[in-house]
Amino acid sequence: MIELKNISKTFRTSDSTVEALKNVSITVNDGDIFGIIGMSGAGKSTLVRCINMLERPDEGAVLIDGVDVGSLKSKDLRNTRREVTMIFQGFNLLMQRSCLNNVMFPLELAGVKKADAKKRALELLETVGLPDKANAYPAQLSGGQQQRVAIARALATDPKVLLCDEATSALDPKTSHAILSLIREINEKLGITVIIITHQMSVIEEVCNNVAILDHGEVAEQGRVVDIFTHPKSQAAKRLVFPEGEQEILVENSAYRLRVIFGGAKAAGTPLIARLAKEKGIEANILGASTKAVGDKAYGNMLLSFADENSKDLAIAFLKSIEDISVEEV
């Protein structure tokens, strides 16, 4: 278990002070895939760097399985860092080393015998799907492949926790998806706790169970991903769940309006409107929609308007008959 307790961090430069983190408390349970999301400059990287003490918090404590990481001596801290490894947006591979030697790097630091290290590194390259790239150099690989090597390297010392700072931000959507799948697989098969830093809601949706929303150095909201998707409470959460803005939708002028709330329904938005037209002969106007797929389920809401009272009532009856969908008049 990782407990961040009342972490604060202020950066002072000659001409400014930035309160990067203000009293941040987060608990991450073992085996979890925990997302930390926020806008650029929200303090995400600073927070994740506090976990392995690359950045020392001014106040507060980081406990990993009850051990106060901040109070460790440098040698013990280095051992802890072998258990809490990290992957980065820029991959950060050693460019003058082959992929195999990159994966062997943490083992070399730990003093593992060369033959054993090599064997382990080859297995890990297999795990991340790059068994044929052992002798290639990072510059010869695509971004996605480089991140796979970085993941293999991060796994070399059998960590308990994997920290991912914007690990997919430099990749195209397809590659990003593949890397996230690999991370999920690692989490499931090896039971490694994963902390994912991102500014993209799609990343949280795709792999995280729990999420904390960081806003200007503070935790705006945290909890289960599904809860925050269905009932975002804080402004920061609403901004992320409804990027187009919830309020704007409401100003649309129409007397007969409904808000359809997806609380994990199998049906996505558009087929619902199609069914409404086909089965009931009702035409609904979509004023706005912010639905998100989490796994194969839809969350979010959709604002519809109708021509008259009667078709609105019919629509209510129809929508209420569908599981996991609720309707309210607005």
């Binding site: 392995n52 690359l54 440098s74 280095r78 051992n79 802890t80 860092r81 072998r82 490894t85 990290m86 980065f88 820029g90 950060n92 591979l93 050693l94 460019m95 003058q96 080393r97 082959s98 790097f105 943490p106 070399e108 630091l109 730990a110 150099y137 990072p138 510059a139 010869q140 390297r153 010392t157």
Partner: protein, 234 residues
């Protein structure tokens, strides 16, 4: 033109070149390589120390020590070489036993070269992506491991090209050390061209010096490129 190659001047120059140049080239190479090697032994660790000892480096040095090293290096680098030769003469005498001659020229060369090399090494090490240093720290590397397993190996191509610059610069300085009796092509050029007005000999030796610099430079560039794994074909 044909007249020129049968002229007395030319034949005499060829004669001098034949008898004196092989030894001069040997002396130049020997002095250059030995001086570079010794200067490297001092400059390489010093350059690494300067780079990691930065205010926000991995082993920040105490400010007074850092300032002292920087001022010392700047000072040594700003003294003109010919003056340096004179200034360090007592030290040369102490180490070599005399302040004059081929072996004696190594001392001022080393003293001129090591601060220069330290700066070049410092800049090579600074070129290493700071994110990679952070990766190494997050992997549990000690500062010493970061130096030996990350900073130095990652900057090898840049180090090779910078050491090549140092080598060719030192080669140029050996020509100047001819003034204090250091042997080599420089002495030959000065003796014949400046003191005896045999310009042909001077021109030929200068051309040879240029060729040596070119040779070192192209070998260095080649080695740097070959060693750089970032430049491997996909």
């Amino acid at each position: 033109m044909a007249d020129f190659f049968t002229s007395k001047d030319w034949l005499e120059a060829v004669d001098i070149v034949k008898t004196e140049v092989p030894l001069a080239i040997w002396e130049t190479l020997y002095v250059t390589l030995i001086s570079t090697l010794i200067a490297l032994m001092i400059g390489l660790p010093l350059g690494v120390l300067l780079a990691v000892g930065d205010k926000d480096g991995i082993i920040p040095l105490p400010a007074p020590l850092r300032h002292f090293l920087n001022i010392l290096i700047n000072l040594l680098r700003s003294v003109p070489f010919l003056i340096l030769i004179v200034v360090v003469a007592p030290l040369t005498r102490l180490i070599i036993g005399k302040a004059f001659g081929t072996a004696a020229s190594i001392v001022p060369l080393v003293i001129a070269a090591f601060p220069f090399i330290a700066r070049l090494v410092e800049s090579s090490v600074h070129e290493v992506n700071p994110n990679i240093i952070e990766m190494a720290q997050s992997t549990g590397a000690s500062p010493f491991q970061i130096i030996t397993k990350v900073l130095i190996p990652e900057s090898v191509p840049s180090l090779i090209s910078n050491i090549t610059i140092a080598l060719t610069t030192i080669l140029g300085y050996t020509a100047m050390s001819g003034a204090i009796g250091g042997g080599g092509l420089g002495k030959l050029a000065i003796n014949y061209g400046y003191y005896r007005y045999k310009y042909l000999v001077m021109i030929i030796t200068v051309i040879l010096l240029i060729l040596l610099v070119q040779l070192f430079q192209s070998i260095g560039t080649k080695l740097s490129v070959v060693s750089d794994k970032r430049l491997k074909k996909k």
